[in-house]
């Protein structure tokens, strides 16, 4: 699916990604982990063709991202850390634009949009302006954009950042569903989330690859494993535990889409 060889990226004298090589295989959900500034987003941006590499090669579905970018990008759906949304459009208009830009056949566009809307759970808000949607729904529109055109690979860069615990659970379930049809790369800071959703782990630290393992092969605590590899101090664990507790407590609350709609409506009234 993806073959990365000796990938490096320098910003001036700073080496954000330092000679990393790994392979992404079909049919898995990959967790892409690392502390802040480790080079996760830079690597994802290079894989998706948003950024050039200083050295190395990236091949997506057999197409080099530098030499054959159009064919390589056809295989990828990408949700960057900040969803790239045109806020003056409705989700339907936005997805229609993305479908056309991705070259989806004219007679398939409507079907594709319906499918993406259903899978990302935005049926209730599909005809409202994106600027009036809550953050959770905006994230879902971003995910719908990524899966339009049935790309083989879906890359999600920290899709749960800034969401409330209930929204985090919803997005996490959505990612699990995506994993049934797509190969997914998920970047996240929440270790418990990665452990629950991903079956493979790639950990980078200071631009270097420090682990590429199956999640089930991690002996004991993932947090301990992560801290050992990245050399982080214990306080980082405290944050993770807090987030985990929030998520677990929210899991017991009943899910009600009307709440989210109400929230969206409240935001639009501000």
């Amino acid at each position: 699916m993806i073959q990365i060889e000796h990938l490096s990226k320098c910003y001036g004298s700073h080496k954000a990604v330092d000679d990393i090589s790994f392979t992404i295989e079909d049919g898995h959900i990959y967790g892409f982990l690392g502390p802040n500034g480790a080079g996760k987003s830079t690597t994802m941006n290079i894989i998706t063709g948003c950024l050039s590499m200083t050295e190395g090669t990236v091949s997506v579905c057999g197409h080099d991202i530098f030499d054959d970018p159009i064919e390589a990008k056809k295989c990828i759906g990408y949700l960057p850390e900040i969803p790239p949304l045109y806020i003056d459009m409705t989700p339907i208009e936005y997805l229609s634009f993305v479908a056309r830009a991705k070259g989806v056949a004219k007679d398939k566009i409507e079907e594709e949009i319906t499918r993406a809307i259903e899978r990302s759970g935005i049926e209730n808000v599909s005809d409202r302006l994106i600027k009036n949607l809550s953050k959770g729904y905006k994230q879902r529109v971003g995910i719908a954009q990524a899966i339009i055109g049935e790309p083989q690979l879906v890359i999600l860069d920290e899709p749960t950042v800034g969401l409330d615990p209930k929204q985090i659970i919803e997005i996490r379930d959505l990612i699990k569903e995506l994993g049934e049809k797509h190969t997914v790369i998920l970047s996240s800071h929440i270790l418990s989330e990665v452990q629950q959703v991903c079956d493979k782990l790639i950990i980078i630290n200071e631009g270097k690859l420090v682990a590429n393992v199956d999640t089930k092969d991690v002996d004991g605590d993932l947090e301990e494993f992560f801290l050992t590899l990245t050399g982080e101090e214990r306080p980082a664990q405290a944050l993770t535990e807090t987030e985990t507790t929030e998520i677990e407590s929210a899991e017991t609350e009943p899910e009600n889409p009307e709440d989210a709609e109400q929230e969206a409506s409240d935001e639009s009234n501000l």
């Binding site: 941006n45 990828i76 830009a101």
Partner: protein, 233 residues
């Protein structure tokens, strides 16, 4: 390219910019036509176009300031970079949308000489020749504005720099005449407005047409290069 073109065109109409642009252009043309053709009883419509071309200082930045600057501000440029489109398609799609918004009020303006010709002896060839050059002049400024919008992520800077560049170009020939010598020749040769005035004087200048088209191609190319450069930074 068609997807980008349609989205851009929709956004100009949704945001109201297309209407504001059209209204400004039609008001400028209407006022100038009132002064020259109706009150002044002059049959040359080309003088109207020559009088309003300074209006580009206002209407071109109005249209181009958001074009790429807004993509960077909203971070939607990442979507463009990750879509299976090459940068030429993206830039040309955006430019053609700008050109369409510019051309729409010009369709109405194109009726003016015909209307005036019912009431007097209007020189239609020179009127439409000048209108053709006026559209090329606007198209060239749109390309320049698009390039400037790709350089910055601040709307005010994008609009301000575009306005200053157009204004400087408008007064450059006067400045050149004051200084004189080789400088005046260089300024006159590169001034877009000077090439337009040749048409106003009743000459259909092919070299000016080639110059306008070259400026458009150059600035679209520079815009593509500027967008590509961001991948490397």
């Amino acid at each position: 390219m068609k997807a980008i073109y349609n989205r851009e065109l929709d956004s100009y109409f949704h945001s109201g910019l297309a209407y504001i642009f059209g209204a400004f252009l039609l008001v400028f043309v209407g006022l100038a036509a009132l002064v020259y053709n109706i009150n002044g009883a002059v049959a040359n419509f080309e003088y109207v176009l020559a009088a309003i071309c300074l209006g580009f200082v206002i209407i071109i930045p109005l249209l181009t300031m958001r074009s790429i600057t807004e993509e960077r501000r909203q971070r939607t440029d990442q979507l463009l970079y990750s879509l299976p489109l090459n940068m030429y398609e993206i830039v040309c799609g955006k430019y053609l949308a700008l050109l369409t918004v510019f051309a729409m009020p010009m369709v109405i303006v194109a009726c003016y000489p015909l209307i005036f010709s019912r009431y007097g002896d209007v020189y239609l060839l020179s009127a439409y020749g000048s209108m053709f050059a006026f559209i090329l002049l606007g198209a060239a400024w749109l390309a320049v504005g698009l390039f400037i919008s790709s350089v910055t992520d601040k709307l005010a800077v994008s609009a301000g720099v575009t306005a200053v560049v157009i204004l400087a170009n408008y007064y450059a020939s006067s400045l050149g005449d004051t200084i004189g010598g080789f400088f005046a020749k260089v300024v006159s040769a590169i001034s877009l407005f000077e090439h337009f005035y040749v048409f106003v004087n009743g000459i259909f200048d092919i070299s000016a047409v080639i110059y306008f088209v070259s400026v458009i191609a150059l600035f679209l190319f520079l815009t593509v290069m500027m967008m590509e450069k961001r991948r490397y930074s």
